[in-house]
Amino acid sequence: MNETFNIQRFFRIVKAETVAFRRHYLFYLIFAAAYAASDILINRNSFHPNVFAGLGLFLMIISPFMLYNDVFHKIKGVNYSMLPASNFEKWLAFWFQNVIVVPLIIGTLWLILSGLEFALFGRSIDLHIGTNEWHAYFIGVLGGQAIAMIGTMSFRRLKWLKTLGAIFILQVTFGLLTNLLVYQFDLKSFIMEVQMANIEPSTTSWLIDYIKIVAHIIFPFGLWLVSFFKLQEQEL
């Protein structure tokens, strides 16, 4: 028996989870329908699928809390932990549901709403949101979802609240540390000197872009990796 990965076993988990999560997925559908109905009723001659897209991005970020809130619970999580599949397969299924299935469902619903707007009011999809914007949103969602995945696995109760609290504490800590370093080592004058220096924007822009791309990849990837080890070490 392959103890790390078996494609049949993986799809069996995905199938079992999709069946278990169908109420959540039905909720997305009802939410989209309710949004569309209320939007049409309120703005009789216009329609805003892009607002739904914003709400959809939020739903994508919080999906680990919605779908996997109980899997590390001492009582509620036993069935999940005892399911005969490897930690890697469970983690991959966790990732697959959040990063692939949920965005796919919400994206499809957004497309349907946009299509509806085109049919009703003749506005095309491109009017609302561009490819670059989507790309930026999706990168943001991946980062947010990765944080939510860690939060789901790290806390036993009030997961989302504690995750927000942890983010706030980390931000404040890093902010204080940065300020401390700047004043302690007189970095303010150094930063100003760098800013005053005549550096060509083209020279720095590629560097900034490079750092952004690396950060966008490293941040969620690193957190996904951490979430895998968290799952492996989880005791109930």
């Binding site: 103890e3 069996r12 199938k15 036993v78 005892m82 599949a85 930690n87 397969e89």
Partner: protein
Amino acid sequence: MIEIENMSFWYKEKSKVFDSLTMQLEPGKIYGLLGENGVGKTTFLRLIAGLLFPADGNCKVMDYTPGKRQPGFLSKIFYLPEEFMVTHQKADEYARNVGPFYPNFEYNHYATLMQEFGVDGEKKLHEMSFGQKKKAMISLALACNTELLLLDEPTNGLDIPSKSIFRRVVARAADDNKCIIISTHQVRDLEFLIDPIVILERNNVLLNESVESITRKLKFAVLSYVPEDALYSEPMMGGYGVVVPNTDGEESKVNIELLFNAAIANRARFAEWFN
């Protein structure tokens, strides 16, 4: 099947649940796991299931390290906790989803057990009563046909006829390759089912003996008086239930409740006799 060597476990280091616990559990037996509240019966089952990791020492189950939760290990073990969460699926649908993860799962066997317990598999699990849920989960656990079956207080919440059905189906499920461990406080429900008997005490195991070995050393009787050498006695219908050392070699029927109380009251003597 289960080899535990010097295993220690604690939630808080100052109050250890197990301290250098060593014991072996063999296949072909239905172990009855007894112990006072809080001695760690559930923790013991969770350590074997790999839901908790030993802080020290070794725990090997079928040559696997449970804490690694490898699929090969998990497909050979079914752990039914005392309290459990059920999904919003129908019982049959849940069995069809979970069953295929276990190589020896038989849906027909599951359906037969559900029928025997009188549970409607078309009903949603979360709409069932606690007893019905338990019966559905016991049916699933037995139908998975795993080599190791861990049942934590399985008769809690079962009505009287269901307890008798439970005894029957568990006895039927037992074979030479399987090890069934039943943790229970309700010893009378399982008196004729469990053998050997394991009594846990704080930090360690007090007794791990077969019924035969127990009755070779101890005698259980209802007498009109309390003998001087009685290890334990309590008033009951018709006199006193007593546990005395078996000096004449005559075998008696084990009364697990009396045995448990005798063991708790005579820890040192039991440890000397049985280890």
